[in-house]
């Protein structure tokens, strides 16, 4: 069993699952508490559209993928704020645009489209060293930003208008988090794939949301659930010889279901029992 760890591809897959799990599930806390779940799919489609044009133009797909994500994250906030839309509506608009662009690009690719389609599914077992370094870097940056700007992020998650009214640069923080989400989706896209990203953004954070009333604990729980899902998913996929992505999605969903069952937020407290901040 342990000899599998000697293989480079497996070591890479394990590192990728740690970094991918951490970065996606941490930013997932923002996505879940701000109630913008479709941000994940939208960013994935933006990155996908960019990736396809990268293939078309014969350049590294990551570069246009980053640019598309960057532009999307720059547009979503201002569209929602200027038009006084629900952010989800703005996200939906960008989603449909990116979807259209992606299909356009896909149609322009001659011959078989396997390389493009691998962007949707990702493949955690064919990760390169450069991918790992990039994923490690984005995970590190995410954690650093969360630590450095925790109090501002907390205020924005509580209420954007209140955060603005106390003199916090609320727009920069909010738009910055949107962009960070895009960057995380982009760096993880060709390893974990667009479909998996969505569940890694939502499931661990949603599970953590069920278990705590403390934002710091929610970040820690969500990050742990993300890594755990990826780890177990990888392990089961090796044992049962099934695609890792599918198992990672299932594992994270099971964790969410368990959290829902065990959630103190659904229990009726007994008289006299004081609600603590945990």
């Amino acid at each position: 069993m342990l000899e599998i760890l000697q293989y480079k591809f497996m070591q890479h897959a394990i590192l990728a699952s740690i970094f991918g799990g951490v970065s996606c599930s941490l930013i997932g806390v923002f996505v879940v508490t701000m109630e913008i779940p479709f941000l994940g799919v939208t960013m994935a489609h933006a990155a996908f559209a960019g990736g396809i044009f990268g293939l078309l133009w014969g350049i590294n797909p990551l570069i246009p993928a980053f640019i598309f994500c960057f532009l999307s994250s720059l547009l979503i906030g201002p569209i929602a704020d200027k038009a006084d839309f629900n952010p989800d509506t703005a996200i939906g608009i960008i989603f449909s645009i990116m979807m259209g662009v992606a299909f356009l690009g896909l149609a322009m690719i001659p011959g078989p489209k396997t390389e493009a389609l691998s962007l949707i599914w990702g493949s955690i077992l064919t990760i390169s060293r450069a991918d790992i370094i990039l994923m490690a870097a984005i995970s590190f940056v995410t954690i650093l930003l969360l630590v450095l700007f925790f109090k501002e992020i907390q205020a924005v998650i509580f209420h954007r208008e209140i955060a603005a009214s106390v003199g916090i640069p609320e727009r920069s923080i909010y738009y910055g988090l949107l962009f960070l989400s895009g960057a995380i989706v982009t760096t993880n896209l060709n390893t974990v794939g667009g479909l998996l990203i969505f569940s890694l953004l939502i499931n661990p954070a949603a599970a953590a949301y069920q278990l705590t009333y403390n934002l710091k604990k929610m970040f820690i729980l969500s990050g742990s659930f993300g890594v755990l899902s990826c780890f177990l998913g990888l392990f089961f996929s090796y044992i049962f010889n099934v695609p890792s992505g599918a198992i990672i999605i299932i594992t994270s969903s099971v964790i969410f279901a368990l959290a829902l069952l065990l959630s103190p937020k659904r229990k009726v407290k007994q008289v006299g029992q004081v609600t603590e901040g945990d």
């Binding site: 508490t33 109630e35 450095l148 700007f149 109090k151 501002e152 907390q154 205020a155 998650i157 509580f158 209420h159 208008e161 209140i162 955060a163 603005a164 009214s165 106390v166 003199g167 916090i168 640069p169 949301y209 705590t212 009333y213 403390n214 934002l215 604990k217 929610m218 937020k265 609600t275 603590e276 901040g277």
Partner: protein, 266 residues
């Protein structure tokens, strides 16, 4: 003396609705200003024009002697406490009452710095003085409307602001809490010489030290001046479009609409 808030000919609209039409108002440091008027008159919009949350179509706002613009707005907001009319909070929000009061400090503390002992003490003292010490560790989404209102007031005061904007601060409170919040507002106004704007429907709760009154209707300021002059049956009848009776008591005034002309269609 330079007025601490100087609003000049501002117009604010939410797309097709004009919420303020060519409104001017100037307030000196240390004044306690009550703002009254019917629903939809533009009271909330007037408050948000002062802290820059509302967007001006024309005109200008000077606060602390400087014109508010997008570059200095964050700096100015740090010195303006704001209690909005209502807040909808998700019951599962993973933030406690104490943390919400601390948010009031965050603007002042600034980026890349941590809250220190003094910040925590200011927050704790305010939690005590608005009477929510027993709720301090509760999730913020688990409060009643009135309890949440007190948290918001503590949060705004935690900024140690120079200007306080209160949008119907007593609207959700029980009668004893109404009284204690009004007394708190007065006390703070007195102790810190804090310029205070308070939107209020129930003029019974008008703090005694309230020297100035602004009455609004249809996106305009109809009356501004001494509170004693504002409290006249003529002016109030015109503002509310119905005959009004004023009952003076030892404690203040009670205003009663006699026949409610506006609501006859309901």
């Amino acid at each position: 003396m330079v007025p601490i808030v100087d609003i000049r000919n501002i117009t604010v609209s939410y797309r097709e609705n004009v919420a303020l039409r060519d409104v001017s108002l100037s307030v000196e440091e240390g004044e306690l200003v009550a703002i009254g008027g019917p629903n939809g008159a533009g009271k909330t919009t007037l408050l948000t024009a002062i802290n820059g949350l509302g967007k001006l179509l024309s005109g200008l706002v000077r606060v602390f002697g400087v014109e508010v613009n997008h570059r200095n707005i964050n700096q100015i907001r740090k010195a303006i406490g704001y209690v909005p009319q209502r807040l909808n909070i998700d019951p599962r929000m993973p933030i406690s009452v104490r943390e919400v009061v601390m948010i009031g400090r965050y603007g002042r503390i600034g980026l890349l710095r941590k809250a220190n002992g003094k910040d925590r003490k200011v927050a704790d003292d305010l939690i005590d003085s608005v009477g929510i010490a027993h709720l301090a560790d509760r999730p913020i989404g688990h409060l009643s409307g009135g309890e949440l209102q007190k948290v918001q007031i503590a949060r705004a005061l935690a900024q140690e602001p120079k200007i306080l904007l209160l949008d119907e601060p007593t609207s959700n409170l029980d009668i004893s809490a109404q009284r204690s919040i009004v007394e708190l507002i007065e006390k703070i106004h007195r102790q810190r010489w804090l310029t205070t704007f308070v939107v209020m429907h129930e003029l019974t709760h008008l703090p005694k030290s309230c020297g100035k009154m602004v009455l609004m209707k249809n996106a305009k300021i109809i009356f501004q001046g001494e509170t004693l002059k504002a409290l006249s049956e003529n002016i109030l009848s015109e503002i509310y479009d119905c005959p009004v009776e004023l009952l003076k008591t030892d404690d203040g005034v009670v205003i009663r609409a006699l026949t409610n002309v506006r609501n006859t269609t309901v």
